[in-house]
């Protein structure tokens, strides 16, 4: 039986369909979750996809982080459920307190939409085990508020504990501190990144198929655990 991965849709979510497709490409079963759900339907992992949840009112991800479905997601993550946040999903996980730091307006104030190379800095997380440390992948970046920030103490901890999972392989176009593109929780089960691996799973529609590795990583772990 294939592992079941929940994909959350909030009002304003855009990339849930691609995220569900990526789960299926990697051999998993995608389970649609709605922002008002309070039952995660027993899924084995959750993807919080990108978009502009609740119109990005207040701050990007701020309202979604307090929506009904996020209560059980936070509880499950505390018990070790693998959770991946992509773009707005990353912002939501930061706002929900599952990931450290915050995402603010790009330093150049422009929305950035292009392919970008990332370096996998930690292939030991639930979502990166199919990569090797230092591997470079090409995925799209499309965000206006993607500049990762955290205070010096938090940055030092992230760097020291291997919680920087993805780094831009060029100076961060959005001004992200330490060129950080993605981070993880201390246990490596919750990962968030600004670029979009779910848009890079098929050569027909994406710049590469590199993004599939995140989804295959978690599915391999779930299958091995079953």
């Amino acid at each position: 039986m294939s592992a079941r991965v929940g994909v959350i849709t909030f009002p304003g979510t855009l990339d849930d369909v691609d995220a569900a497709r990526a789960v299926r490409y990697a051999g998993g079963e995608a389970v649609s979750l709605w922002h008002r759900d309070t039952d995660l339907q027993g899924v084995d992992a959750v993807v919080v996809p990108g978009g502009f949840s609740y119109g990005d009112y207040l701050r990007a991800g701020a309202i979604a982080a307090r929506s009904p479905v996020m209560g059980p997601v936070v509880e499950a993550a505390d018990r070790g459920l693998p959770v991946l946040g992509i773009c707005n999903g990353f912002q939501i996980l930061c706002e929900a307190g599952l990931l450290p730091g915050a995402l603010v307006r790009n330093s150049g104030l422009r929305f950035i939409c292009r392919e970008i190379r990332l370096r996998v800095e930690n292939a030991g997380t639930a979502w990166t085990a199919d990569f090797t440390d230092g591997a470079e992948i090409t995925v799209p970046l499309k965000s206006g508020e993607g500049r990762f920030v955290a205070d010096d103490e938090a940055l030092a901890r992230l760097e020291g504990e291997g919680q920087v999972v993805f780094r831009y392989a060029e100076p961060a176009p959005n001004g992200a501190l330490h060129d950080i593109a993605g981070v993880s929780s201390a246990d490596g089960r919750v990962v968030g990144l600004m670029p979009h691996p779910e848009h890079a799973i098929d050569a027909l529609t994406g710049p590469s198929t590199d993004g599939l590795g995140l989804f295959s990583s978690v599915l391999a772990r779930l299958t091995a655990a079953a």
């Binding site: 701050r59 701020a62 706002e95 730091g101 330093s107 920030v149």
Partner: protein, 89 residues
């Protein structure tokens, strides 16, 4: 009846966080011919109408967990004048 008072919450990006919007505004001020504005930080101003029995601690929790993100913002909560008093109706 419980009275209702206006509560103001002002939220600003922390000084150490780059505020490119504030910088863009500051540059535009120069184009108006006004010199002497050294820095601008752009934030948010919330006006809440709050029952008097809502405690300072609850207001602080609203501000610090929802209206502002403590990772990147600082905030000030101020209780203002009474908006209306149900007892006088």
């Amino acid at each position: 009846m419980v009275g209702v008072a206006r509560v103001i919450v002002d939220v600003l990006p922390k000084a150490e966080i780059l505020d490119p919007q504030g910088q863009a505004v500051a540059r535009a001020m120069g184009r108006l011919g006004v010199t002497g504005v050294a820095d601008v930080r752009q934030g948010k101003h919330f006006v809440l109408e709050v029952d008097d029995d809502v405690s300072d601690a609850e207001l602080e929790r609203i501000a610090g967990t929802l209206l502002a993100n403590p990772v990147m913002e600082e905030w000030v909560v101020r209780r203002g004048s009474t908006v209306s008093d149900g007892a006088q109706a």
